[in-house]
């Protein structure tokens, strides 16, 4: 069991930009994020003070929704709070707040003009102490980001880990009949807002992945007839990664963003290659008649996890970044596919087929500690990691004429939730925290 105390969180909260105000004292509130008897932390978030009251209410609601969706927090109904609007200039009346059964209180303010600015203080109501006090700004066109940045600060202060709210999800938006689905690249904020379509859907487009800096996309497209890997900058032109491969697919960026690793099928064999992000002659990393696919680098770039049926059925293997010496790490019943290394490095997420079910799970890089986070009789696959390594998103397809949707679950197998999208959606790729 891991207990992340607020003392740890205080260090993070004080790491920069703190408002000069109350001196934080050692606080008592903690979130126990693993273990069987987890209870979400009750938290009070009055509407943010603002010269535009409805704007202050909107920002506060985005923050409440983020924290509630994480599964770690239980925001109280703001209509029930003894104070309805935030006050960042004074010290809360802790005697009043102690009657409300909350452990933490967020007081915020927000204003918008040329840019959006917000101040936020997080208080430990039991210890009567400030946990964090910060001020932020963002550009006005993108005002919802201020709520996500504030949400990350609260999450980090109280759970001890980095946040993941100021992020986007790249995915494939699916429309039309199943036998001839139109698939378009799309990107949205992690809370489903600000949806943008990135391609017109004239060609079948699959498995988009964001670069480590979130500024480039690599994906598989059938625009030349056969599946091929393409690279594009957000806002830029797409370009085929390499020529002369009969079929190339399953691309992912290297951790430094300078290379792309992918599969090539030729004559029935599928092997793994790597090429510079600007193309050039690829380097072959596996060599055989098996199917080697779904490669993914470790965060330090030294190793590659991938799927291979060289042993007779799909299993997960790890090899060095230069290829060779592959070691199998999955040994449970059934087959294992789509391994994806956590950005934190401690876990590998995968899709497992066992007993007629599709399961999303994690294991340590040495193959130990396997944990199934989600199991379904429907097809579900394609895990992607939140940048803090605590939440996994994937897609589930009920089959028949229905279509896929996005889901997320935390690494303790709790809080499985549907991610709303305006069309069917598949192949999610979670961005890093935005800079």
């Amino acid at each position: 069991m891991t207990i992340l105390t607020r003392r740890d969180a205080l260090k993070l909260g004080l790491a920069g930009g703190a408002l000069a105000f109350a001196t934080p004292s050692r606080a008592l509130v903690e979130i126990v994020v693993s273990g069987g008897n987890f209870v979400p932390l009750p938290i009070a978030i009055p509407d943010f003070a603002s010269s535009d009251a409805s704007f202050g209410a909107e920002i506060a609601q985005i923050v409440r929704d983020n924290l509630k969706r994480s599964g770690l927090f239980a925001p109280l109904d703001p209509a029930t709070l003894p104070v309805r609007v935030g006050d960042v200039s004074g010290t809360p009346d802790f005697a009043t707040w102690r009657t409300t059964a909350v452990d933490a209180l967020v007081m915020g303010s927000v204003e918008r003009g040329g840019e959006v600015s917000s101040q936020v203080r997080v208080w430990d109501t039991q210890a009567a102490a400030q946990v964090v006090g910060k001020a932020y700004t963002t550009d006005a066109q993108n005002y919802r980001r201020i709520a996500h940045i504030v949400s990350d600060a609260i999450y980090s202060a109280l759970s001890g880990g980095a946040g993941y709210f100021d992020t986007q999800v790249l995915f494939v938006a699916e429309t039309g009949p199943k036998a001839n689905r139109v698939k378009r690249l799309a990107i949205m904020d992690q809370d489903s807002a600000n949806l943008q379509y990135l391609s017109a859907g004239k060609a079948l487009t699959l498995t988009p992945r964001l670069s480590p800096r979130g500024d480039q996309v690599v994906f598989t497209s059938y625009e030349d007839g056969n599946p091929q890997v393409y690279v594009a900058g957000l806002g830029g032109q797409s370009k085929k990664l390499i020529n002369n491969a009969p079929m190339s697919f399953a691309p992912r960026f290297s951790p430094d963003g300078n290379a792309v690793i992918f599969s090539v099928s030729n004559g029935g064999a599928t092997n793994i290659y790597v090429a510079g992000v600007n193309g050039g002659k690829p380097t072959q990393l596996t060599d055989g008649t098996a199917i080697d696919t779904s490669p993914c680098y470790s965060p330090d770039g030294s190793r590659i996890v991938f799927e291979s049926d060289r042993g007779g059925a799909p299993q997960i293997y790890i090899m060095g970044a230069g290829g060779g010496g592959a070691q199998r790490i999955s040994y449970g019943e059934g087959t294992y596919s789509t391994p994806v290394w956590s950005p934190v490095g401690d876990l590998i997420a995968f899709t497992r087929q066992s007993g007629g079910q599709f399961q999303i799970g994690t294991m340590k890089p040495d193959g130990s500690g396997e944990r199934i986070l989600s199991a379904s009789n429907s097809v579900q696959e394609g895990p992607t990691w939140a940048p803090n390594g605590r939440v996994v998103m994937f897609f589930r397809d009920p089959g028949g004429d229905a279509g896929p949707g996005l889901w997320s679950v935390d690494i303790w197998g709790r809080n499985e939730i549907s991610i709303p999208t305006e069309s069917f959606a598949s192949d999610p790729s979670w961005s890093p925290l935005r800079a």
Partner: protein, 160 residues
């Protein structure tokens, strides 16, 4: 702080990828996709290949081995293709939906390769043959049980 990127405006456009196979319509309950289409077709026509020879073979789950039925169909395909050597052919490999997207592209490629190699072993000039894999992206039978999955695990010989 980085501003939001504008829409990726210029992903290169290309012609819509269309399946050129004309197949019997599949019904909602998953029956109906087979090798029989309406009409017989003149000797040497694509319609004759579709109707009288049979344009597709089926595979077991997660297998690329040719069944006896598949080999019988491919024998007929090879004989026809050797008789009408003016055609080029495209072998499309497909998988059912009960596998992951990326593995299924590779599995479809492997199924297509098995068919290419078999036809070549029966005397069809390899230079006439190309192949591609659709993975699980283009099912012909739409339902949620094995009656459909078994029809989607296929390799289709498209006469061009």
């Amino acid at each position: 702080m980085r501003s939001v990127s504008p829409i990726l405006t210029a992903l290169k456009t290309a012609a819509l990828v269309l399946l050129v196979v004309s197949v019997a319509a599949c019904s909602r309950n998953g029956t109906g996709v087979g090798n029989l289409g309406p009409g017989g077709g003149a000797p040497g026509s694509q319609q004759e290949f579709l109707v009288s020879v049979g344009d597709r073979v089926f595979f077991e789950t997660d297998s690329s081995s040719l069944t006896n039925d598949a080999m019988a169909t491919l024998d007929k395909q090879a004989a026809w293709l050797n008789q009408y050597a003016n055609y080029k052919i495209m072998i499309e490999g497909h998988a059912d939906e009960r596998g992951t997207r990326e593995y299924n592209i590779a599995l479809g490629a492997r199924r297509a390769a098995v068919v290419v190699n078999y036809l070549a072993s029966k005397g069809v000039d390899q230079r006439r043959i190309t192949s591609k894999s659709y993975g699980k992206e283009r099912p012909v039978a739409i339902c949620n049980d094995i009656s459909c999955w078994s029809q989607n695990r296929r390799a289709v010989t498209v006469v061009q």
